[in-house]
């Protein structure tokens, strides 16, 4: 039997009614091991105008590079209570904030380790199907050999790498530009 996968449709302007019941702005509780980070950002449209009705979902491994999922067979520790999933909505200024821990490295194609990264889904009115991108980390030696980052033109890779906020330890800035000169790299997933 071969069925056709159901088509996607936009979350529309009123997704808060259904999806904001389960907002998860704190991905890692105090018990989770790892370097604690806060990721701030804004979601901007093609005119650089803030998007006040976007939803961001994140998925990541724990600090050991282990996903809380049955298909991750790696012999690495799980962290009790760490699901690895985040969900935040943008505010009137298009801003969002997420608190988590920096994930560890996970294996990639051909056994090459991937650099630490967070998977991101972006939903909003005007997106008929969600978009997928990744957040990478600054000053990370693994970025140079990351098998996914290497698929991206070098001058666009920076759109996926969070920036340090000077003077604020553990705070990173990562923006989503839907279109235009600094358009974020989005994936065909």
């Amino acid at each position: 039997m071969k069925l056709t996968a159901t088509g996607n449709q936009t979350v529309g302007p009123y997704f808060h009614i259904g999806l904001s019941r389960m907002l998860i702005p704190v991905v890692a509780g105090p018990d989770a091991e790892g370097k604690r980070i806060t990721i701030h950002g804004r979601v901007l449209d093609a005119d650089q105008k803030p998007i006040p009705d976007a939803l961001i979902e994140t998925w990541q491994a724990n600090a050991f590079g282990k996903y809380a999922h049955p298909e991750d067979m790696q012999d690495k520790p799980l962290q009790k209570g760490f699901l690895g999933f985040g969900r935040v909505a943008t505010d009137d200024g298009g801003a969002f904030s997420l608190t988590t821990i920096k994930p560890g490295r996970v294996p990639g194609p051909g056994g090459i380790l991937q650099a630490p990264h967070v998977e991101v889904s972006v939903f909003m009115r005007g997106l008929l199907r969600h978009l997928v991108t990744r957040i990478y980390f600054p000053d990370e030696a693994g970025n140079a050999e990351d098998p996914v980052l290497r698929l991206v033109e070098p001058d666009r890779r920076a759109t996926m790498i969070a920036k340090k906020v000077p003077g604020s330890e553990g705070v990173l800035e990562w923006n989503v530009n839907m279109a235009g000169e600094n358009e974020t790299v989005f994936f065909d997933f």
């Binding site: 449709q9 294996p107 056994g111 005007g126 008929l128 235009g180």
Partner: protein, 241 residues
């Protein structure tokens, strides 16, 4: 973890042409300033993509499957029972899938600050629910048939009656957000969101059908809506498409 396990990573099937909407679809005006303009980069399905959040049954509470009561009273409008199965493309049921739904009330009004007050709120209708599929991939919830609502996309634009569905399948890449429509809705041919799916057969999969089996005498009309999530590739090589 050995290298073999990595090489054996089976990705998820890429969509058949025409079965998913494009990001830029000018008849739906909000896509114009929000669709990406640069080519998307083909993402290999690594461990990060074939895993995804696993929710326990504690994610839902008793009553989450009944939208017809709120704030101590009964919502106004035709009661419906929506049920169906969540399947993978190969027909296998998807158990323990978290399904979140939200919708307008019988008058087409959403309980949201940005929704124009074209018709009244119903104090006994909030418009959200959550269910989880059982071991056979089945789900079921009770609600009120939502009304069509006017929107500003073009002159005299009306959305057909619809219920928003959000689903988590087994993987990050099996995430699905869609809308369920109703059989026989005269607004469907004019709706740019519904018509954003190019393939007619794929489009029709978004329409629920009236269902005698689940219709409860003197209580509610049944509607049947099956949802199909992406399935796995047969071999790892298909990852490359």
């Amino acid at each position: 973890m050995g290298t073999n396990t990595i090489l054996d990573m089976r990705g998820y099937r890429r969509p058949e042409p025409g079965t998913q909407p494009a990001y830029l679809f000018p008849p739906y005006k909000s896509t114009l300033r929000r669709a990406p303009t640069k080519p998307l980069v083909l993402l290999p399905h690594t461990l990060s993509e074939v895993t995804g959040p696993v929710f326990g049954h504690d994610a839902i509470s008793p009553g989450d499957d009944d939208l017809t009561h709120a704030n101590g009273g009964e919502a106004i409008g035709p009661r419906i029972i929506v049920s169906g199965r969540v399947l993978e493309e190969d027909g296998r049921p998807v158990p323990n899938a978290l399904v979140e739904v939200w919708q307008a009330n019988a008058g087409g009004r959403y309980r949201h600050r940005n929704c124009q007050p074209h018709s009244p709120l119903d104090p006994n209708f909030n418009g959200y629910g959550r269910v989880m599929t059982n071991s056979e991939g089945r789900y079921r919830f009770q609600s009120i048939k939502p009304g069509p609502y006017p929107w500003g996309n073009h002159s005299n634009a009306w959305r057909p009656s619809h219920i928003h569905f959000s689903l988590f399948g087994p993987a990050f890449v099996s995430r699905l957000v869609t809308q369920m429509y109703f059989e026989g809705d005269p607004l469907l041919p004019f709706d740019p969101i519904y018509n954003s799916i190019p393939d007619e057969n794929a489009r029709k999969l978004l329409i629920s059908s009236f269902d005698w089996e689940t219709t409860v005498p003197d209580h509610a009309n049944g509607y049947h809506f099956d949802i199909v999530l992406r399935g796995r590739n047969e071999t790892p090589m298909e990852n490359k498409r």
